[in-house]
């Protein structure tokens, strides 16, 4: 099982959207996929068709480690497994403040908790776990990074993302994690976006993926309609970009299975 953490240094970068889209696209490339949500927002399952936030999930294991948490995973038509954060209660409420604090504290205490948990999952073939997290820095993101074989950093072409990126980059370097940076929601019409992408290429070099995902208003529309964006708008440039990204990840996963040694480069 290879683990890919999808992180970003700002909110609203499109992590959950990319996780959900890549789960489907990697399934189509004959990988067994487990999408894990390590994010107390508990929204991943909204992308796979659920109307309400999940009650069961990772959080069940934090609260009661002896429970059989494997029941919490959902499966979509294409065969992908989805493990949400869970913890939702009636009337749209989540865990109360006290519970949340104790969850965070226990995550902080056991930094390898998620890694061990994923290691216990056994899926056939070139399986992959995609871990969606909260914005970094947070205990949740740290758990995901610790669990990851490859960290996919989603970078929206915004000034704030550029400003916070160096810290994340040096953190990943210090941890010795292989990282690939993906620019998301890039609009070619915007001069600012073009300039920021040029800046990113300058600072990141080959670690910046050549697959930049274009901005497309169809993405939130597809979520609102409860559709998969890639299936709803297969001819859109954004869908093409995600296909390219998925192909790159797929070949990364295959080569990672073949060679125990780390594979070079984050470029496509």
């Amino acid at each position: 099982m290879k683990t890919i953490a999808i992180v970003s240094s700002v909110g609203g970068a499109g992590r959950t959207m990319l996780t959900a889209a890549l789960a489907g696209l990697l399934m189509a490339r004959r990988h067994a996929v487990l999408a894990v949500e390590c994010d107390p927002r508990n929204v991943l399952t909204l992308y796979c068709g659920l109307r309400t936030p999940a009650r069961q999930g990772l959080v069940s294991h934090v609260l009661a480690p002896t429970d059989d948490w494997s029941d919490a995973a959902l499966q979509t038509d294409d065969g992908a497994l989805w493990l949400p954060w869970g913890g939702a209660r009636g009337e749209g409420r989540g865990p109360d403040a006290e519970a949340s604090a104790s969850i965070a504290a226990s995550l902080h205490k056991e930094p390898m908790w998620l890694r061990d948990l994923i290691a216990r999952v056994d899926l056939p073939g070139h399986a992959v776990a995609l871990v969606d997290t909260a914005a970094w820095p947070s205990v949740h993101a740290s758990q995901a990074i610790a669990a990851a074989d490859l960290v996919m950093v989603v970078v929206p072409p915004e000034p704030l993302a550029c400003a916070t990126l160096p810290r994340l980059k040096s953190e990943l370097n210090a941890l010795g994690k292989q990282a690939v940076y993906v620019a998301n929601a890039v609009s070619p019409a915007s001069q600012l976006h073009t300039d920021i992408v040029a800046l990113l290429r300058d600072t990141l070099g080959t670690a910046l993926s050549t697959y930049r995902v274009h901005a497309d208003s169809g993405i939130p529309e597809a979520l609102a309609r409860n559709e998969s964006f890639v299936h709803a708008a297969p001819h859109s440039q954004a869908a093409h970009d995600m296909q390219g990204l998925a192909s790159w990840l797929s070949s990364w996963i295959r080569s990672a299975y073949q060679t125990a040694a780390p594979v070079s480069g984050g470029s496509a």
Binding site: V186, S187, P188, A189, R201, H214, S217, G218, H235, S236
Partner: protein
């Protein structure tokens, strides 16, 4: 006027009769007629007569093509006269039939015949497959490798090469001159054929050499026989025509042998790397000479040249405007390139460049025709050669055309059959390079200034200044190089007349060089350089021999002259082996660059037109004037270019009449030698096919849009106003606009704004545009805020990409001689049909006094 009494009387009578017959009094004629013959049905029964009469009426109406409310008179007239129908065209529309042919690119005729015999061929094919799958496969590639291994081993033995060559020559002489009985000659032919067909399958260069050697052996044998056995004529007239034919044949032999030498070992040179120290890179001046071309044609070349990858301070672009146009001066200033013009317009392009040479100072000169758009990598690909070899004076790259030339357009062979230039740039120049005899071709080349100045600049004595200049540089002992890597592309000539005009210029110029600066006469060239240059020149003298071959069967069919002093069996025993073996050898050498039999088509079209210029230039090199190749134009309606095709129509008529005469001859006067008649008729029939193809090319297919719409396929992104994106591909490009192929149709109106993004490597370039046309998945966009900067960006994302033309060799289709033969015959057949159609059109136009219909 009738009285009321008589009217009521008639009405009453009518009423009574109607009651008797059982019809309504006010029923129509048909019903009355029916009831006169058939009784009305009993109540509760179906009225069968009425039903049948109705159906019959409908059927007649349909057959006579009548409308519902036609009068009786019209009905009557139609029974005897057919309505005017639009005449059906006999010639197929090749463009639409291509879609039926499908992706396999098969010939139409072959496809159709194959369809008829599908059950048989299918069964045979399956049986063959079943048998071959059980047989052990022959490792052809392995054999090729082993041959290479042996040859490199043999190469190390000293003096072996010379000994082998000497022995080979002795064997060849014996082979050529040994007389054989007819039966043995046939056996020899079969043996050679078997060897060739086996050798064809082995990849590599040595098997090619084997094929060439066998071809030389068989040709030599044929030549010996031809000279010693067939030059006996009964009358002086026969002798005259006989020697004429013999002379034409000698020309083909020389061209054949020279061609074998020229293309013996294509060098396939690779680019040399440039040094890492950019400071050591030399300065380059880029010349873009123009005379009368519109700015829209010139500007992409200038903008692309300016953006080539080279240190900015070492690259200067100059627009050499011989038209002294204010618009061009302004454009040059706006985009920041040099503008050079001159007072006196002597020596056309050569004079223009020489004038510029005196005003600039770069160490190297890159020359592009004004419509050749270079890629960004052009200089980095070519300049390494100069730095590696200080004696290298010129590097030439291929001329590539992204639009179809008249042959390709009118016969729809674009990207399916290699065009006329493929052979030259794919093979001949590469072969020349081995002998250090690469010619300068006037564009897409870099020249070192010093040697160029040493020979007095670009040659001005002839109209093919390019080849002449490189000839002069070779005489001084400089080397030239050819890189078979497409690094620039341009527009092909638009119409057949323009295409012919260009070839006439080349032919005239080559004849001029042959006369005033013959490669054999002056010192400085190696033996093989002389051969390469003279073959290039001799090539353009094909006009007269070709015309002789096209007319010669008539000598026998009309007048009964025996121009070939041999009986039919001997001809079969010697001529066919020679033609077959050299055809097979050439197919192997030229392969994907020129399909078998297409040379005959191309030459047949140009033969008539090159005869006079080459002859005149040969007699008096000063005669004749320079003509500029016309670029850009619009063919609004399909038409047959009568003026261009006239000579071929006559030749075609001659051969068709010859066929008729042959049939008559066979059954009347020449009953004793049917084989000879038949052979001449087959020859004539072959000529008809070639000439048919030549005439068919003159039928100019309609060009839907202005010529500067150049085909171009790169990925693009559409950004709609609602924020959605579409991944699509570009289809073509024009100044200020672009054609897009969508993955699925979109609801867009004319004038709707949207954006299109093209990428160059990692960088997206965004172009705001409006919809100019929208039909199905084809979308035409017009750019807004068009500026030189935007155009530069667009060219960088399209033509300027280093990989823009890398795939051109992959697109070439390998030669299959038999298939190619069928294809050429089919083109000839279609050409004759097109001529027939055009004749009917013309007759109709004269008789009916109506403008010609466009098909």
């Amino acid at each position: 006027m009738k009285s009321p009494g008589s009217v009521s009387m008639f009405a009453r009578l009518r009423h009574t009769v109607a009651q008797q017959l059982g019809v309504d009094a006010d029923a129509d004629r048909g019903a009355w007629l029916l009831r006169l013959v058939f009784r009305a049905p009993r109540p509760g029964q179906r009225d069968w007569p009425a039903l049948w009469a109705h159906r019959l009426g409908r059927h007649l109406q349909f057959e006579l093509a009548l409308r519902d409310d036609e009068s009786t008179g019209t009905w009557f007239k139609r029974l005897f006269f057919r309505p005017r129908r639009r005449r059906v065209r006999l010639a197929a529309n090749l463009r639409s039939s291509r879609h039926h042919r499908g992706a396999r690119r098969r010939s139409m005729l072959l496809g159709r015949i194959g369809h008829w015999f599908a059950p048989v061929t299918g069964a045979v094919g399956r049986a063959g497959q079943a048998v071959t799958s059980r047989l052990p496969t022959v490792p052809w590639a392995g054999i090729g490798d082993r041959v290479n291994h042996w040859s490199s081993w043999l190469d190390r033995v000293p003096y072996l090469k010379q000994v082998i060559l000497l022995l080979a020559f002795m064997v060849a002489v014996a082979f050529w001159t040994t007389p054989l009985a007819i039966a043995d000659q046939f056996r020899l032919f079969i043996l050679v054929c078997v060897v060739m067909i086996l050798a064809r399958r082995i990849p590599g260069r040595w098997p090619t050499m084997l094929l060439v050697s066998l071809s030389i052996l068989m040709t030599g044998r044929y030549m010996w026989w031809r000279i010693t056995q067939t030059l006996n004529f009964a009358t002086p007239v026969e002798a005259f025509f006989g020697y004429l034919l013999f002379a034409a044949e000698i020309n083909t032999w020389i061209v054949l042998f020279f061609g074998y030498i020229q293309t013996a070992w294509p060098l396939n040179r690779q680019p040399k790397p440039l040094p890492d120290a950019i400071e050591s890179w030399p300065t380059v001046d880029v010349y873009i000479p123009t005379y009368n071309e519109p700015l829209s044609v010139v500007s992409p070349a200038v903008l692309a040249a300016k953006r080539m990858d080279w240190p900015a301070e070492k690259l200067r672009v100059f627009l050499l405007d011989d038209g002294s146009r204010e618009e061009f001066h302004r454009f040059a200033n706006e985009v920041g390139v040099g503008y050079l013009t001159r007072e006196e317009h002597r020596f056309a392009k050569a004079g223009n460049i020489n004038h510029a040479l005196s005003l600039t100072s770069g160490e190297f000169i890159a020359i592009f025709d004004c419509d050749h758009i270079p890629t960004r990598a052009f200089l980095q690909t070519t300049m390494g050669e100069f730095l590696a070899d200080p004696q290298c004076a010129m590097v030439q790259t291929p001329h590539h055309f992204f639009s179809p030339d008249p042959f390709e357009r009118n016969y729809d062979t674009f990207l399916r059959i290699p065009n006329e230039g493929s052979l030259f740039y794919g093979l001949i120049q590469d072969g020349n390079d081995f002998w250090n005899a690469t010619f300068f071709c006037g564009s897409c080349a870099v020249i070192r200034r010093a040697p160029l100045m040493e020979v007095g600049g670009i040659a001005v004595e002839t109209v093919t200044e390019d080849a002449h200049t490189s000839l002069k540089m070779h005489r001084k002992g400089y080397r030239t190089a050819y890189l078979r890597i497409v690094q620039a592309a341009g527009l092909a000539t638009e119409s057949l007349s323009g295409h012919i005009g260009q070839r006439i210029r080349w032919a005239r110029g080559m004849a001029q060089i042959f006369r005033i600066d013959n490669p054999w006469l002056k010192k400085g060239l190696t033996f093989f350089q002389r051969i390469c240059y003279s073959n290039a020149m001799l090539h353009f003298f094909y006009g007269i021999p070709r015309l002789i071959f096209l007319c010669m069967p008539g000598a026998y069919l009309f007048f009964g002259l025996h121009v070939f002093g041999a009986d039919a069996i001997s001809v079969m025993a010697y001529v066919f082996p020679y033609l077959f073996v050299s055809g097979l050898a050439n197919s192997r050498i030229q392969g994907q660059y020129r399909h078998s039999f297409w040379a005959e088509v191309y030459e047949s079209v140009l033969a008539w037109y090159t005869v006079l210029p080459t002859t005149i230039a040969f007699i008096n090199p000063k005669k004749g004037k320079f003509n500029v190749t016309a670029k850009g134009g619009l063919i609004e309606q399909e038409y047959l270019d009568w003026a261009t095709s006239k000579p071929y129509v006559w030749l075609l008529a001659l051969n068709l009449a010859g066929l008729l005469a042959g049939v008559i001859r066979m059954f009347t006067t020449q009953r004793d030698e049917p084989a000879t008649v038949l052979m001449n008729m087959v020859w004539s029939l072959f000529n008809v096919a070639m000439l048919g193809a030549a005439v068919g090319v003159a039928k100019e297919a309609r060009q839907v849009r202005v010529s500067h719409h150049v085909p171009l396929r790169v990925p693009a992104t559409l950004v709609l106003t609602n924020g959605k994106t579409i991944a699509c591909n570009t289809e073509n490009y024009s100044t200020g606009g672009i054609g897009i192929v969508l993955p699925e149709a979109l609801k867009l109106e004319r004038g709707d704004p949207l954006g299109v993004a093209l990428s160059r490597g990692d960088i997206d370039y965004y172009f705001p545009a409006v919809v100019a046309r929208n039909s199905g998945i084809h979308l035409g966009l017009k750019f807004e805020e068009w500026s030189h900067e935007k155009e530069t960006q667009l060219i960088q994302c399209t033509f300027g990409r280093a990989d823009a033309w890398v795939r051109w060799e992959e697109e070439l289709v390998p030669d299959a001689p038999l298939h190619s033969f069928v294809e050429v015959i089919e083109m000839g057949y279609q050409g004759v049909l097109r001529l027939f159609d055009a004749c009917l059109d013309a007759t109709e136009a004269v008789v009916m006094r109506r403008p010609r219909q466009s098909g």
